[in-house]
């Protein structure tokens, strides 16, 4: 094994490692290189956020249009204030649209679905959804049903 051959194989080995790291970054963890993509932030207040988490999905008609940035408790209203970053090219969400927390499948993860309203004005950056619908809580549903409400 000459020095040159071993240098070449070691170089290939390091390249294979870099390629594998790139694979883990792009294909496995879904890291997108276009991080400079423009987004804008809108807010929604929920009574119960259920199981949504930051980096969760925000979708409209089943298509992902953004992600959940942060979830904080508003200590004045005691509601959860959810910040969502929406892709910049979806800039015409009607202002009276509703943010609804839904579950994908029976046991799947929860996400925010935007039900489209009918108003001509659209939501701007920093706006808050007027109407929201909290996560469906099966225990609460059953207890309401049992108490006849």
């Amino acid at each position: 094994m000459t020095q040159r051959t071993s240098e070449i194989t070691v170089g290939l080995f390091m390249l294979a490692g870099l390629a594998a790291l790139l694979f883990l970054a792009l294909q496995v963890s879904g890291l997108t290189p276009k991080s400079a993509e423009s987004t804008y932030t809108v807010y929604a207040d929920f009574n119960d956020t259920g199981g949504i988490t930051p980096r969760g999905r925000v979708s409209m008609a089943g298509v992902t249009i953004g992600s959940i940035e942060s979830i904080n408790l508003n200590t004045e209203t005691f509601q959860a204030r959810v910040a969502m970053s929406i892709h910049g090219d979806v800039d015409n969400i009607p202002a009276d649209s509703a943010a609804v927390i839904r579950t994908s499948g029976l046991l799947g993860e929860q996400y925010i679905d935007i039900s489209i309203g009918g108003e001509m004005d659209s939501l701007e950056a920093g706006d808050t959804f007027y109407s929201t619908q909290s996560a469906m809580n099966i225990e609460r549903l059953i207890s309401n049903f049992a108490s006849g409400k």
Binding site: F13, A20, G30, G108
Partner: protein, 260 residues
């Protein structure tokens, strides 16, 4: 009775002494700044024998472990009707735990034992002392390239292991058992975070690589220069490396994923 207590105390003292010697040895190896012109070819040679030659066992084990995870995960998850989550399960298991840990165990067995035996034989045949006679520092010439090679090669091997394992899981889950390919990758991408999961896994493998290489070269350098001494040093390398890797893995996991 007193004799037993005394021998217990003696083994404790010996343990502390050998840890101290290993620390001084490490400081001696790392303090010598390698000259690029002479150091680089030595490092490349060691990277070849430690890294490239370990690639085959790492790739084959990664493939089979991924395939077994796919099979086992499918059996368990299909009981709950959520076999689509198999991609998430395989990727998180491999990237966080099995990738770094199994690679480190294989690395200790494949490369660590070879390093110990090589250095031990050099010591037994007095090659190390003749280097010293010639005014060449054996720590810098012989030990340092091997230590750095282990340190560099281990994360690369662990990353390749994870990638091959995820691919093997796809082979079983998607191509054989019929999980939808889109949900395999989609669930994976939704749950694996690059910095929380992938980078933490790489940090783990860097720590393991350092510990395994350190134990291997120290055991070789410190062994009793006889054939029995070399064989017991080689055994110690594999045993100590495996225990250190598993123990450190628990500590690192608690720090990284313990949420406290």
């Amino acid at each position: 009775m007193i004799d037993r207590i005394a021998s217990f105390g003696r083994s404790g003292l010996e343990l502390v002494v050998s840890i101290g010697r290993a620390g001084r040895f490490l400081a001696g190896v790392l303090s010598g700044v390698p000259r690029p012109a002479t150091g680089f070819p030595l490092l490349v040679k060691q990277l070849y024998s430690v890294g490239v030659l370990s690639l085959a066992i790492v790739v084959v084990s990664g493939l089979f472990i991924g395939m077994v995870l796919g099979l086992q995960g499918y059996t368990i998850l299909s009981d709950f009707g959520s076999e689509a989550a198999i991609g998430q399960m395989i990727a998180l298991t491999l990237v966080r735990e099995l990738g770094p840990v199994v690679t480190a165990l294989l690395f200790a067995g494949r490369a660590g034992s070879a390093l110990t035996a090589e250095i031990g034989l050099m010591k037994a045949t007095e090659q190390l002392s003749s280097l010293e006679m010639m005014g060449v520092d054996p720590l810098r010439r012989v030990i340092a390239p091997r230590l750095w090679a282990g340190f560099i090669a281990m994360p690369v091997l662990a990353i390749i292991f994870s990638m091959v394992g995820i691919w093997g899981g796809m082979l079983v889950g998607v191509d054989w058992l019929g999980v939808f390919e889109g949900s395999y990758w989609g669930n994976m991408q939704a749950s694996v975070d690059f910095f929380d999961d992938v980078v933490n896994g790489v940090i783990k493998s860097i720590v393991f690589g350092f510990v395994c290489a350190w134990i291997a070269v120290y055991q070789g350098y410190d062994c009793v220069p006889t054939s029995a001494g070399i064989s017991s040093a080689t055994t110690k390398t594999v045993v100590y490396s495996s225990l250190a890797v598993l123990g450190l893995d628990f500590v690192l996991t608690a720090v990284m994923f313990g949420n406290f």
